[in-house]
Amino acid sequence: MPASTQLGSQLVDLCSVLLLLCCFAIVAQRRLSACVDLFALQSAFLAATAALVAFLTGHKHIYFAAALTIVIKVIVLPRILRKVIERLNVSRELGMNINIPAGLLICGALVIIAFFITQPIIPLGYLLTRDSLAIALAIILIGFFTMIARQKAITQMVGFLVMENGVFLGATAAAYGMPLIVELGVFFDVLVAGLIVGIYTHRLQDTFDSVDTSTLTVLKE
């Protein structure tokens, strides 16, 4: 492997690790608005990774995806979420099903699982981004875990978006990104999901005076 490629590969790995770190930060965060900020930061790192991959491989369409990431995930979605938080006057505290230390431990375990699972696959790859696959899987799992561990609808949205970031990273890592049309579709989906969660949170607040999804249990019979 030539030196420049090796350097590029290491840079991609660095960016991926920063993404993963953001995940841990989200799990360790007590304040709601900070979670949203961290998600914006993570998305910025994701855009950087994508741009890096585009630069190293010369696949122009990844630049486009990176630009979209910045517009939608760094600017638009965080703004929607902040607005929802402001308007609904959601208390800053996060409702937790699992406390932070335990959550971090579980996340650590999830990272190990992710690396364990991808172990047999990674050596088969030949792309310079291949190591990121394990990290992408870890991000997906942690995003999912966030959805379970936090009670408020907005944190669940953040968890979902983190998962989406993981999927994006995974696609970049495994195959230099999905075809542009798929990418566009996914961005559109994410945007719509953001809007829906916004509305859904309003309804939740109206009905239960809280955005805690645990209150939904009363809907059963």
Binding site: L110, F144, Q156, T213
Partner: protein, 675 residues
Amino acid sequence: MTVLLVGLLAIYIAGVILPPCFSGKARIQNLVAHGLAAAAGFAGMVLGLAGLLAPEPWTASVDSSIPFLSVAIRLDPLASFFVLTISVVGLAASIFALGYLAELYGRASIAAMGSLLNGFLLAMTLVVLADNGFFFLILWEVMSLLSYVLVVTEHEKPGVREAGLFYLIMTHVGTAFIILTFLIFFQETGSFSFEAFRHPDQQLPEGLRSIAFFTALIGFGAKAGIVPLHVWLPYAHPAAPSHVSALMSGVMIKTAIYGLIRVYFDFMGGEFPWWWGFTLLVAGTVSALLGVMYALMEHDLKSLLAFHSVENIGIILLGMGAGMIFHTYGLHELAALGLLAGLYHTINHAAFKALLFLGAGAVQFATHTRQIEEYGGLLRRMPWTGAFFLVGAVSIAALPPTNGFVSEWLVFQSLFLSFQLPTLFLKLMLPIAAAMLALTGALALACFAKAFGMSFLAQPRSSHARHATEVPRSMRVGMGFLAGLCIVLGLAPMLVVPLLDRVTAPLTGAAISSQVLALDGWVVAPVTVEFSSISTPVLAMLLVVAGALGLLIARLFGKALGARYYKTWGCGLNLTPRMEYTATGFAQPIKQVFETIYQPTVKLEQEFLEQSKYFIKHQRFESHIEPVFEKYLYRPVVALLLAAADRLRIIQAGSLHLYLTYIFVTLVLLLLWAG
């Protein structure tokens, strides 16, 4: 053939699409929908006859992009016979519907009913023509769903909704078993094409073959209404509008008979284990006997007819079962006879049951009730309907010279011929089945003496019956066509048997029509004229002669005896309809005799005047019989299912986080397992 088939399909499809185009004009919708259905019925009759007479089966197939599915059609004699049966009844029912639905203008959607009816007839016709398992299952499902929608036409009544749901569940249980049957064949042949299923090289392993036998029996049995899978039938068939009931009872349950014959004789031909036929024989005997016994206790005219469908399916199965047993022992000619008897009864039952359901519909049209207890004296008010109903009643009671008699007689003969079997057990069992069939026939006669007598004779028991008038002409035409058919099928076995022989010969490997029809076809003799033979035309002539003779004697000697006309003596009281024999009263002795089966509950509450206990202030009589199968077979199963569902509800906590956790844990476990 191609032109006929394409024309037939085109008319039905037009019948589905066109009626809704005339929105707001109920009369035109009715004319278009049922006119097209009748035209298609006529085309179907021609197609069926052409298919029966064709020397070679006619096939066509179009492959589709869906794996294993090809739109394949095969018009062999068996399929042709069923197309003929469906089309005949479809024709009569559509003509009947023209008048029958006039009452509903403005109250129900005629366009929807007409479209659904055409779709239903189309699906049934294609079911018997399908030559691909996948295609067959799709059509079968379409047929079941459309008939469900037709059953719940009057969905504003809660009873109808319940009946519909019951039907829907049972028919899907049945479909599941049919899918299983085809999957067993698919596993062995790697194809869903019927051609591959029937290929002689393909022989299922013995164990698998027997499993397929049972899955087919349960799957098709649920549709046919074989006891104990019949429970939905007496609810669902009467709930539908009468012309639909006629189609469901007359032909839809016959598609199940078609399925059974197709699977057993066509796909699994060759050696049957002896107990297959025996199983059918037992199922047939039980269905026939219990069907007629429950019919006797039923005082809702259409439910009574529905129970009789169970009985007649039993009789058809007796013929088929005997055929299979003979087939096992290589007695191919007798096998052909049994199957032929079953098929003969199939078309006969289609004709007279449809006729009776149309008759019941006509009576309901005129009186707005289905309770026999509220009828009476209808013959004077509705002479045509009464006459047609009588023809149907005589046919179903298997009295000569009508069609029911011929086919039941043939079933009897094939059962009696069991003395040619090598095993003692079966030699004993077949005559026992014949004895049970005899009992069934006697009870059916009693039942229709009740149904006809209590409905049409004596004086009206309610104002409904008193104000009844004859039904419109189209309804009479529909009934008259079937009544004529009942008589023709009875008087002309020499025309029917050769056609049926073309169906059974390829399936059993023996052509018997020349043997069965002796003396230029005027005599039907299963083995030899000496052993047993019968001739309905001669019987009919004898009946006419005897009747004329009776009249003549009465005319000659009646005067001499001094006839005096006077009112019926009523112990000095004026006669009122309340003194008439009721349907309940008529059935009472039989209820007493078969108490163990019916498990009747009788309650009488009386309140007397204080002055004397000889004067009753008011009294309340209650009598009902136990629905044994529902109580001991179905309710425990339903209770078990509900209990299991209750247990499973623990995991349905309603918590979003819990559901997410389920997904998460599953995902991680699957990933670990795959890694």
